[in-house]
């Protein structure tokens, strides 16, 4: 009887620990093979067959198709430079320059990867349509209500994430630091 009880207990612990660890790593992600520059994180190997099992599992769970390495690389941010989560009710600005790439796009998604509805039907910017300063840098202003310049509507949702995709770019597996890939800063400028 005691043996059966012990075995049962072992199995319960094993299931809880094992599946708990799987759930946590798949939903929150792991740091294996990630490249973090400022507030932005990419997984350079996710677009290759060498992607690690954790990266593959999180791709499968989210339902997305990762960018192939010959196509480009995707950086994601869900917090600003001060590690505060991106809140659609606040004013947030993205400014600076982007790494070398033939084209880039910046897109705003909710936590599940859906676009956020807004009257303008603007879900992001491409490198071609953005209004730049004379030196080539830019400022994108994220807010629920209209702002001057490059305004990206947040729809006022509580949490969102940004994806910066670089297409046809040298940024990838060999990239390590801000110097190889100067990512724009994300700063909260105001919050009601």
């Amino acid at each position: 009887m005691r043996l059966i009880l012990s075995a049962l207990l072992i199995l319960i612990i094993a299931t809880a620990v094992g599946l708990g660890a799987t759930w946590t790593t798949v939903t929150r992600g792991t740091d294996f093979g990630t490249l973090t520059i400022g507030a932005w994180t990419a997984r350079p190997r996710i677009g290759t067959p060498e992607a690690n099992p954790y990266a593959r599992a999180s791709v499968i769970r989210s339902g997305q198709l990762p960018l192939g390495t010959g196509d480009g690389i995707a950086f994601i941010a869900n917090a600003d430079d001060n590690r505060q989560p991106l809140d659609g009710r606040c004013d947030i600005s993205i400014s600076g320059v982007t790494p070398p790439a033939r084209f880039w796009t910046l897109t705003l998604y909710d936590n599940k990867g859906h676009l956020v509805a807004n009257a303008l039907q603007r879900y992001g910017f491409t490198s071609e349509e953005i209004v730049r300063n004379a030196d080539g840098s830019f400022v994108i202003r994220l807010a629920a209500r209209a702002r001057s310049g490059n305004w990206l509507p947040t729809g006022g949702i509580e949490r969102y994430q940004l994806m910066l995709r670089l297409y046809d770019t040298p940024v990838g597996i060999g990239t390590r630091t801000q110097r190889d890939a100067p990512m724009p800063t994300i700063t909260r400028t105001g919050c009601p």
Binding site: V17, G47, R56, I60, L65, D71, T105, T107, Y123, Y167
Partner: protein
């Protein structure tokens, strides 16, 4: 006391095993992954345009709304596939995924270096079975080996501003993805499908 410690330790060890097995098994048991979602929406061995990204109706999450996207879901069991994709004004790319969403190859218009991206997709066995001399004539053709018999080809054309979306969609509408019954080297002739 020792007994409880032993139970805890055994539980943790076995838990580690459960964790590893479940991580590795996840790709096989998932039903909401991109391939499973697109399998319901797309025909096999034909190009199907995905509806433009929309907050209420996205076939898969994290699609880039600046792109027109089309899918060719392939099954190589009846023979290699010949893919032709005309290049749009801004940027066009073709990415290949296995049936478990692994990106194994991607090419863009510039690396293809032509007005039309043309390539043959086949399994490694089909590639090995190609007559050798024909493979030399085929040297200027791009041959891609698929690690799996089934998978996805994702065709994307950038609309660098929203006004160009119709053009990007029209470019992809002219793309073809067909099983070729002829030897691939002779495929310059009409894309025969019997």
């Amino acid at each position: 006391m020792i007994r409880w410690l032993a139970i805890l330790l055994a539980g943790l060890l076995l838990g580690g095993l459960v964790h590893l097995v479940s991580i590795l098994a996840l790709p096989r048991i998932a039903s909401q992954d991109a391939y499973s979602r697109l399998e319901r929406l797309t025909p096999v061995n034909a190009v199907k345009a995905l509806p433009s990204a929309d907050p209420n109706n996205a076939p898969i999450p994290f699609l880039d709304p600046a792109f027109a996207t089309a899918i060719c879901r392939y099954d190589l069991s009846t023979g290699p596939i010949k893919l032709t994709v005309p290049v749009s004004q801004a940027y066009t790319s073709v990415s290949f995924y296995t049936d478990s969403d692994i990106a194994y190859y991607a090419i863009n218009d510039r690396s293809a270096g032509r007005k039309v991206i043309e390539l043959d997709l086949m399994t490694e066995e089909q590639h090995a079975a190609l007559p050798e001399d024909e493979e030399i004539t085929a040297a200027d053709r791009l041959i891609v080996d698929s690690p799996t018999t089934e998978g996805l080809i994702v065709l994307k054309a950038l609309a660098s501003d929203p006004g160009l979306m119709a053009h990007a969609q029209a470019t992809l509408a002219a793309a073809t993805c067909k099983v070729q019954t002829e030897a691939p080297a002779k495929a310059d002739a009409p894309r025969a499908q019997r």
